[in-house]
């Protein structure tokens, strides 16, 4: 579908002059954003910086006031199934009466189309994805009985089953323990090694360099975008986080050190 030649030059996601406003208040202002293919990219910024809004705009869940969004050079339609979405954990009611397997199967609904129910083949695929995220034993579990980390892994399995070339994840590490965080980053790296593009909203500046190849610093406007080592400077962090940058100096120092070596 995309030739080798294009793959190098063409960004997976190309956002131009994107402006999104809720009533009068701009949430994203004139944002340009090119996500390179086959990379792990983090979107980083303070609360209210518009990180989730950027992801939702790309998915077409939010109507922008202005701007142009292209996915592999084309206007994105959800039907084209190019993007696997992992929403924030808190966005759903986990007391909903359904099982882990059922939630993962929802990732197949787009492929199935109207009316048709998931069949044996879909269940096999779902089991495979549950195995990848280490949740096979929880297959029949009611979703309210899951811990935060397990909920997150179920959502990731649901995105896996879509087998999309791009994954957009909204804070996949929020509220999960250290062991789950390590296993999730392992999964993301596996996706990358299979030539997938993974874009995550991320909060922890300490782990940024270790986990992600590319980073976008965002605070309503796009502050910087590039390889993690190049972008993560004290100056850029200050521009992103403003006066609150003092507590971030650790990450910045580390970044500077990394640049010098």
């Amino acid at each position: 579908m995309v030739s080798k030649q294009e793959k190098i030059s063409q960004p997976a996601i190309d956002v131009n002059d994107l402006t999104v406003a809720y009533r009068e208040k701009p949430v994203l202002w004139d944002v340009d954003f090119q996500a390179p293919q086959d990379q792990l990219l983090a979107i980083v910024g303070p609360n209210g910086a518009g990180k989730s809004t950027l992801i939702k705009s790309i998915l077409g869940l939010i109507k922008p006031a202005a701007g142009r969004i292209r996915v592999f050079g084309k206007i994105y339609r959800a039907q084209s199934r190019m993007i696997g979405y992992v929403p924030q954990r808190g966005s759903v009611d986990w007391d909903f009466p359904t099982s882990v397997l059922d939630v993962v199967l929802m990732g197949r609904y787009g492929h199935l189309g109207w009316i048709k129910r998931p069949g044996r083949g879909d269940v096999d695929l779902a089991m495979e994805c549950l195995d990848k995220v280490g949740m096979t034993d929880f297959m029949k579990r009611q979703i309210s009985q899951l811990s935060g980390g397990q909920q997150q892994r179920v959502f990731i399995a649901r995105a896996f089953i879509q087998d999309a070339p791009i994954y957009l994840m909204d804070e996949p590490f929020a509220g999960v323990d250290a062991a789950t965080e390590k296993s999730i980053i392992g999964l993301l790296r596996e996706l990358k090694s299979k030539g997938k593009t993974v874009i995550c909203v991320h909060h922890d500046l300490q782990t940024l360099k270790e986990y992600f190849d590319w980073v976008m610093l965002l605070n309503v406007r796009a502050v910087a975008l590039g390889k993690t080592g190049d972008v993560l400077t004290a100056e850029n962090l200050k521009r992103t986080y403003g006066g609150r940058a003092a507590f971030l100096s650790g990450a910045a120092d580390e970044a500077e050190e990394a640049q010098q070596t």
């Binding site: 077409g60 959800a78 979405y85 009466p97 939630v103 929802m106 129910r117």
Partner: protein, 381 residues
């Protein structure tokens, strides 16, 4: 109520019609109610039900005919307009959703009451019987009413069956559903329409004032018993059917007893029993679980304290005075020590002093170790 009476009751043609009508409406409202409750739209059902009333009045005024189809189409349209209004107010003004619901409900209902009263006063319509739309009157159900109810409910269940997975994902995770290309707006409109129609089906029998109970109560009760959507819908339909038929029959056999309130009385029994006795989610279950947990903590923490006490002495089985133990036992010491001795973890000497037993010492050490390793394992009680 003896068997002969029941046989007589059900061989009566009117009662058969009433029974069938209440059954259809109970099953339909119960099933759709499950989705309304899970979408956290219980109050929307109430607003829609009240909003249908002016539709009934206007339909009669315009057509001058009280055929059930005409009145129900009027009711359905008004209910739909009410729903749309709530949506528009919520999305395009700064008014909060609950306020939008409250405004729509009361304005439509008030307008409806005025219309109904005016219609009742018209010389041409003195016997229109539109007042039954307020609190419902199952006894006035006619065969043609029930036929219409069955047709509508067949359509509802066909669509529910076909779009099952679409409804499920819409209710669970709307944004994700959009992200995989589902036409969420369309599915939302269809589901809301089905809820409107299921309300309309019950209007004449239950009445606008209490119709939302037919949607919400069976579903809330059903949720207590299962963690599976399909089972919840089935149980909810069953509860709706039983309460609906029981209420309709009871109200039809007692004169001047409106059907809606009678059904609600039956429904409340289901809700109450479900809230208290359902396994896992029931209050009783919660209470028992909490009690067992507290008991466990009370005895095991005392056991660990006994270990701490014994470590002061060279002999781990050194007996202690009850008064000394009471300082940490906080009043329940006698009971706690008896519980421990029942398990063979502590024993009382003839001088009334208490000491650990060898097995108690092992258990105390194990618990303390686990506590320190921060791995909580259920104590072996």
């Amino acid at each position: 109520m003896n068997v002969e009476y029941l046989v007589q009751l059900f061989s009566d043609h009117t009662m058969q019609v009433v029974f069938l009508g209440a059954l259809v409406l109970g099953v339909t409202a119960g099933s759709l109610g499950a989705f309304a409750v899970l979408r956290q739209q219980s109050l929307l059902g109430d607003a829609i039900a009240h909003a249908t009333l002016p539709g009934v009045g206007l339909a009669f005024l315009i057509i001058q005919n009280k055929s059930p189809l005409v009145l129900l189409i009027g009711a359905g349209l008004a209910g739909w307009i009410g729903t749309l209004l709530i949506k528009v107010i919520t999305e395009h003004t700064r008014i909060q959703r609950d306020t939008a619901l409250g405004i729509t409900l009361s304005v439509f209902f008030g307008f409806g009451l005025v219309l109904i009263t005016l219609v009742q006063k018209m010389p041409t319509a003195t016997k229109a019987g539109l007042d039954k739309f307020l609190f419902g009157n199952a006894a006035t159900l006619l065969v043609e009413d029930v036929r219409l109810m069955i047709i509508l409910s067949t359509v509802i269940f066909s669509i529910l069956f076909l779009l099952w997975k679409e409804f499920k994902i819409l209710v669970f995770d709307q944004e994700y559903a959009r992200s995989i290309g589902l036409n969420v707006h369309f599915v939302d409109i269809v589901l809301t329409t089905l809820i409107v129609v299921s309300i309309v089906i019950g209007l004449q029998t239950v009445g606008v004032v209490l119709m939302s109970a037919m949607l919400v109560a069976p579903a809330a009760a059903a949720r207590q018993w299962t963690d599976k959507l399909s089972v919840m819908v089935l149980i909810s339909a069953l509860f709706g059917a039983i309460a609906g038929t029981a209420g309709a029959i009871t109200s039809s056999t007692i004169s001047h007893l409106p059907t809606g309130p009678t059904i609600v009385v039956y429904l409340s029994i289901f809700v109450m029993l479900s809230l208290i006795f359902a396994p896992n989610r029931g209050l009783l279950w919660d209470w028992i679980r909490g009690y067992i947990q507290r008991e466990k903590i009370r005895t095991t923490s005392m056991l660990k304290n006994l270990l701490l006490f014994s470590e002061i002495h060279t002999d781990p089985f050194h007996p202690h005075d009850i008064a000394a133990l009471d300082a940490i036992g906080r009043g329940t010491i006698q009971k706690t020590m008896k519980d421990l001795s029942k398990k063979g973890w502590a024993k009382q000497f003839t001088d009334k002093r208490w000491a650990l037993t060898p097995t108690g010492l092992e258990e105390a050490k194990r618990l303390t170790r686990e506590f320190e390793e921060n791995i909580y394992v259920e104590p072996s009680i």
